[in-house]
């Protein structure tokens, strides 16, 4: 009996020891799971809102400017200096032989860790863009912190200045620029270009990148020096840059953007100035609604052609002359004028992109490839040359559907009285 108890005690002791060893192992292994590895405290972060890339002073070097938000001073609608510094942003720049090196240098002067996850915009100086942005695309698409929907723009001005310029009603310039783009579809003066689209166009075997362009313009009136007129610089959307591979080869003006947006994105409503139906010396402003744009490729006798058709509804928003929507003749004349103006606008862009830049920012290679996959194989290797000589026809159909609130023309009542 005693022996049995002894045995039981002995074996019970072994089992206990085993359990203790197992428990210790589990506890030791649990230590690395404490959840503190890689932690990022918000108070330790320098949250980048915008980044600018310029040429450095030394040949081949790059200057990186970052705009960091100072959350304590960026609170509320006015950016009142709650953090006591009075500045909602902290702008800082550094130079290096590569973007990475410049950012490393920034880290050495920043009291917080540079954090890219909330960056709104990347501004690239046109001089840098002319030399090639392959490295920039690579750096930002490799970076796990950056959003792929971060806007990418070019500028003829200093990117550093753009990044530090407070514009519009926002306190943080990066946020202001992001909002500027949010509504650019309405004004159709620039392109919607983000990192994902840039990367996709750069990697594409046929399409070329198109980046929005911003400039600094004296447009803001200083309330203390109102008599001087617009004296403060603001950021303005100003067309787009056309790239071939990774190099900037040309600029499209704001008025040329409709032609390119129609091919690339979904056309939104926009304004157009057409000749007045009853007085050719005056203008009528119309709003283009519900635009529908389609491109149809044809291939016949080894000749590639594209037929682009634009259907659009027209509303008269400002008549510079007498215009009544029930006047069929006037409506017809206005429709012809709108169609003619739109066609000319689009063709100007098409010719410029085809002949001057030879860069398929219209994504026509993709359109042709979709319909003629086997024929495409023959042309894909020298598509940019073929694209520049391809025939692109543009047909515009418009229909005047509304005179907004008015039915009768806005004319002086005295005229009618004199007629009577």
């Amino acid at each position: 009996m005693e022996e049995k108890t002894k045995k039981r005690k002995k074996w019970g002791g072994v089992a206990m020891r085993k359990k203790a060893v197992l428990l210790s192992c589990i506890l030791i292994l649990l230590l690395p799971l404490a959840g503190c590895v890689g932690k990022k405290e918000i108070s330790d972060l320098a949250i980048v809102m915008a980044v600018g890339i310029d040429e450095g002073k030394e040949a081949g070097s790059v200057k990186v400017s970052v705009q960091v938000a100072r959350p304590a001073d960026a609170r509320g609608q006015t950016g009142a200096p709650a953090g006591q510094s009075g500045e909602a942003i902290w702008n800082v720049e550094a130079e290096g032989e590569s973007i990475f090196e410049a950012i490393r240098k920034l880290s050495s002067i920043s009291t917080r860790r540079i954090f890219w996850a909330h960056n709104f915009i990347i501004v690239i100086n046109e001089q840098v863009a002319k030399e090639g942005i392959g490295g920039i695309i690579d750096f930002f698409s490799r970076n796990q912190e950056l959003r792929m929907r971060t806007k990418v723009v070019i500028t003829p001005d200093s990117a550093s200045e753009i990044v530090s310029t407070a514009t519009g009603l926002e306190i943080i310039p990066g946020e202001a620029m992001d909002k500027l783009f949010r509504y650019s579809a309405i004004s159709s003066v620039s392109a919607q270009s983000d990192m994902m689209e840039l990367l996709a166009a750069y990697l594409s075997p046929s399409s070329e990148p198109l980046l929005a362009r911003v400039i600094l313009q004296k447009m803001k009136v200083d309330s203390e020096k109102a008599e001087a007129g617009a004296s403060l610089k603001q950021i303005e959307l100003a067309g787009a840059g056309v790239f071939k591979d990774d190099k900037l080869v040309g600029i499209l003006k704001p008025e040329e953007m409709r032609g390119v947006i129609a091919f690339r994105d979904k056309l939104d409503s926009g304004a157009l100035i057409a000749t007045c139906p009853s007085n050719p010396n005056k203008n009528t402003t119309v709003e283009l609604d519900a635009p529908s744009f389609r491109v149809e490729p044809t291939y016949h006798n080894q000749e590639i052609r594209f037929k682009a058709t634009l259907d659009v509804d027209v509303s008269v928003v400002e008549a510079g002359c007498s215009f009544a929507i029930n006047n069929k003749e006037q409506v017809k004349t206005l429709q012809n004028s709108v169609e003619d103006t739109l066609r000319k606008q689009i063709m100007t862009t098409v010719n410029k992109v085809q002949k001057d830049y030879q860069a398929d920012v219209f994504e026509l290679g993709k359109v042709f490839q979709n319909k003629y996959p086997y024929e495409w194989k023959k042309y894909k290797n020298n598509w940019s040359e073929i694209f520049s000589t391809t025939n692109i026809d543009v047909v515009v159909h418009s229909e005047v559907v509304s005179g907004e609130l008015l039915f009768k023309p806005t004319e002086s009542g005295k005229k009618e009285k004199s007629k009577e």
Partner: protein, 372 residues
Amino acid sequence: MKVQITNGMFMALIINMLYAKSIGLTQGVIAREVGGDMWLSTIFASMQGLVVMALVVIVIKRMPEGDLIDQFHQIFGKWIGKGAAFLVFIFFIGAYGSIMATFVYHLKDYFLPEAPLVLFIAGAFLIGAYALFFGIEVVARMALIGIFSIIGLNILLMIGSLGKFDIRELLPTFQSGVVKTVWASRHHNTDWAMATMMAAIILPIVKEKKTWIKSGTAGICYSAIIIIMWPILETGVLSPEVAAQYIISCMQMARSAEIGLFIHRYEMIMIALFALSILTQIMMTFLCSSIAMQKMLGLKDYRPAIIPSGLILSGFSYWMVKNHHRAMHIIEGIWVPVSLGIAVGLPALLLISGFFFKKKLKMKKNNANVQG
């Protein structure tokens, strides 16, 4: 009482076993080979997976009390049975390597780049081993919940990406040629192989034997429906070139998806919602490799084999995943013939040998029934 899982749990395990790796890592590999035809390759692979799953069920159904290894043991004897167990163990070592590549490259590369690799390997080991001590039923129940999170993730991604969807990217079809597109499906076949090999091990504990084939093939069909959304969206939203550019293409989708202005950057949502799938993969690989080791060593229970087999799996995955190039080289190269050779070869061999050893099988089955 013998542990059993329902047919629904079995289906859930199949879907979870496939999902995490198939939607990102595999799609990137396929995109590098066939570009915009990646979704077609995925469909072809699903059809092949369906056939292999049916094959596995037919084979196991002949002697439903034993798994694939037991059948080898019964037909060819003890040592061939041990050889089959060894091959199954090798299969799950490789499978675990590819699963850990998915797990680590999602978490470490996108969220915790400074965290040491050993943290992820040890974390997976601990969770996998801990769950298995409680048995497959716990894992299967978790897999059921995993289905809801998978569906939730699919819906969120679809809503956040459709706005940027360009159907032109999906056209023209078979741009790389039919043969090349079908050939590229082998990469996704390695994912199906994980599900069919898992089925080959756990089918004997699935309750309704009569509906095994229905559950197995339905599991594959549902998985295919859930997974196919990803290559279609990755092609239409990212473009095939961008999908091919990245190791984990689904994370790029998550990075660029947005609902309205305030919900964007789905990476964290994605990780949260596909966590159950990847954990199921880890646990089931641990379970299957432990069973293989148990049968190799002639143990009565698989539990004593969990830690040694888990350590071997973790050691291999650490070595493999530490170097991105090595991991991708293995996943895109050697893993394909090894995985498919074992996953198709073993059940096919059993099927063929079953015709020759029909009498022996019948006798063993009768003996088992008498003993039962």
